[in-house]
């Protein structure tokens, strides 16, 4: 038994070595290739999000396989939804695979862990759906294809105000950086709109994984709000809305783009009807040429509706390719960075993309609502 085992072990490592060597030989042969690194959580807690984004990047690579006459090769690496791994894998992509641009990742904290590495090595990175403002702050080499938490919070505050809400309650998932960011900017914007600090009547917290919200909801119901803003994870949020209806709290619920999953509707059922959320992509507002191409290709490849994550990841790839094209080089990563920083009115799936001085995408937000068990397009908020 031991003999068989040692043979097995030895062969595992031998294959490992072989695979390693094989890769290097291939590199030497092809100099007409530009490598783009993709780092996404493909295993671990965030694997679902990572997988959706990977689809978008692969699709974009299929439709735009070349830049400046060179073939684009994606080097896909898994960061295991772990910060230490995210940092190591970013270093590996840069040092071992010699990528010139990095795309990724789902999850702001993972992106932040890689932030120092890309900065040190002067390799531009384009975030897909990492919305925490800190990702690009004080880092010239990190960009992103999505809008940031402050913008999304502000959009929802405007939407609530426009629809007649004057008194709102906020219920945030306090252990989620995304929810905390949204809630904070929602509150700021809403107070500004109404001119009264009392317009936000309550800010309640819950933890990821909580199941019982009756205490929070009873308290809020007593204060009689016009609407409730509840950014957070989709399962918890759906449960929250369900329990609110049971307690007779029949006011509109507003949330962020994390709600846009089938699970939200599955868990919430009838109770989440009328809940509205902000997101980056919708079929009906997908008016650009690129969006049509994307939709066709997506339906052909994966069937069903593409999610906003997939669209954003597709956009991140387009931004990278556009940057390389305008830099006119596939080797000088600093020039590529400068070109990416100047991205302006680039036609992408989620509308025209322009990057601001922080490297954040300025783009319109879309507001959707749940109707008949589906997410329906409701409104469109452009950037002022």
């Amino acid at each position: 038994m031991k003999k068989i085992l040692s043979v097995l072990l030895a062969s595992t490592f031998a294959v490992g070595m072989l695979a390693g060597c094989g890769g290097e030989k291939k590199d030497a042969a092809k100099s007409d290739v530009i490598k783009i690194g993709v780092f996404e959580p493909l295993t671990g807690d965030n694997a679902a999000g990572g997988e959706l984004e990977l689809r978008g990047i692969k699709l974009a690579n299929k439709l735009h396989p070349e830049v400046l006459g060179k073939k684009v090769e994606l080097v896909i690496a898994d960061n295991k939804s772990d910060k230490a791994e995210a940092a190591s894998v970013a270093a590996r992509l840069i040092e071992k695979d010699k990528v010139k641009v990095i795309i990724g990742t789902y999850g702001s904290s993972l992106a932040m862990a890689a932030g120092n590495i890309v900065k040190e090595n002067k390799i531009p990175a384009i975030g897909t759906s990492c919305t925490n403002p800190q990702v690009t702050a004080n880092n010239d080499y990190y960009f992103r294809a999505c809008f940031i938490d402050p913008f999304q919070g502000t959009v929802m505050a405007n939407y609530a105000y426009k629809n007649g809400a004057r008194k709102v309650a906020i219920i945030q998932e306090v252990s989620n950086d995304y929810a905390v960011g949204l809630a904070k900017f929602f509150k700021e914007a809403f107070v500004k709109l109404t001119g009264s600090p009392d317009s936000v009547i309550e800010v309640a917290n819950y933890q990821t994984g909580d199941k019982d919200f009756s205490a929070i909801l009873t308290n809020i119901k007593a204060k009689n709000p016009d609407a409730v803003f509840a950014p957070g994870n989709f399962t918890e949020s759906a449960l929250l809305i369900k329990q609110a209806r049971q307690l007779g709290l029949n006011v509109p619920f507003l949330g962020g783009d994390t709600w846009e999953t089938q699970e939200f509707i599955d868990v919430g059922g009838k109770d989440v009807e009328g809940a509205s959320l902000s997101t980056a992509f919708d079929r009906e507002k997908a008016t650009t040429e690129e969006a049509k191409k994307f939709l066709d290709a997506y339906v052909k490849e994966y069937k069903g509706e593409p999610s906003a994550l997939t669209a954003l990841a597709y956009d991140a790839y387009l931004i990278a390719i556009d940057g390389i094209k305008r830099a006119g080089t596939t080797t000088d990563s600093v020039k590529i960075r400068d070109a990416i920083a100047q991205t302006k009115d680039l036609e992408t799936v989620t509308g025209k993309t322009t990057l601001d001085k922080n490297g954040d995408a300025i783009k319109a937000a879309i507001i959707k609502t749940v109707k008949d068990g589906k997410f329906k397009y409701l409104d469109f908020v452009d950037v002022k």
């Binding site: 490992g16 094989g22 230490a84 270093a91 904290s109 590495i117 040190e120 004080n138």
Partner: protein
Amino acid sequence: MANKKNLILTILLLIGCFALAWYVNFETDSYIRRVVNLCMVYAIIGLSMNLTNGFTGQFSLGQAGFMAIGAYVVGIFTVPVALRPAVFYAAPMNPLIADIYMPLWLALIVGGLLAALVAFLIGTPVLRLRGDYLAVATLGFSEIIRIVITNAQTITNGALGIKDIPPLNDVRYIFVFTAVIFIFITALINSSYGRAFKAIREDEIAAEAMGIDLFKHKCLAFMISAFFAGIGGGLYGALLGTVDPKNFLFTLTYNFLLIIVLGGMGSITGSMIGAVLVTAGLEFLRVFDEPLDLFGMAIPLFRPGFRMVIFSVLLMVLVLFWRHGIMGTREFTWDKFIAFCKNPFGFFGRKGARKA
């Protein structure tokens, strides 16, 4: 005479390792540097966990909590004051601490001391428990720390986490910490305290009968372990340049449990070997995540995530055949090493013969 020779050899090895650290720092790329750094940081935390779990025999799962304390002290105090408003963009930092800046080494030690203090506070009631109950209590404690950090928005920036910790990527710096901690723990284990720890592990009642103050020694081991976990956590935070509460979920503790079980509960060198195997091994296995063309055919198994499957299989094999980890409670010694060098085949043969 033999002792002196061994001491000289150990010193030579440390100097050699330091030279290697120097080489790694200047001659290799940032990827290798990062993996080496991570190995050393994980070794520190593995060692600290081994002190309570392996040597004193107290099954504690609070390591993630102690790491969080160390990492957050580094995160809060080493970010340059000018950058702090940008980091604390959601709620301004508490004015009491907003202007306090510490160099990294000081923040590491403060973090370690704070972790030790917290260990004392929770150790006093909790260490009276044994076995599974202690594990549950310490696990709960580490979750409490994480939730406190999540909710103390003006001190820790809550769920948003802290960014812009000055990056630490100097292999020598971390090596010095690792070496000092390694030497300290070796000396501790070989002192009368260390022997008391081991006596407690073997049989608490017998140890007490021999006049060992159970509570004092358990508490001491727990505090020292927390102190080094705090330092390790601080280095971990500085290495990543960012900390957030989700880093320190209780699953992080299992990383280190894996390291010490793999290396051998109750073996210092085992923890070091375990840390290197788990960290560098996972990186080595990354080749299985990359697509592989064999004779022009792409093998579909080779896709991201496959390495984790291989890693799990390897772990199972290891645990099945080396039930006490690679080193068990044994240590690497020069005498054995020399015996091995003189007669590599006979060395294993002898061991087999002894087992039978």
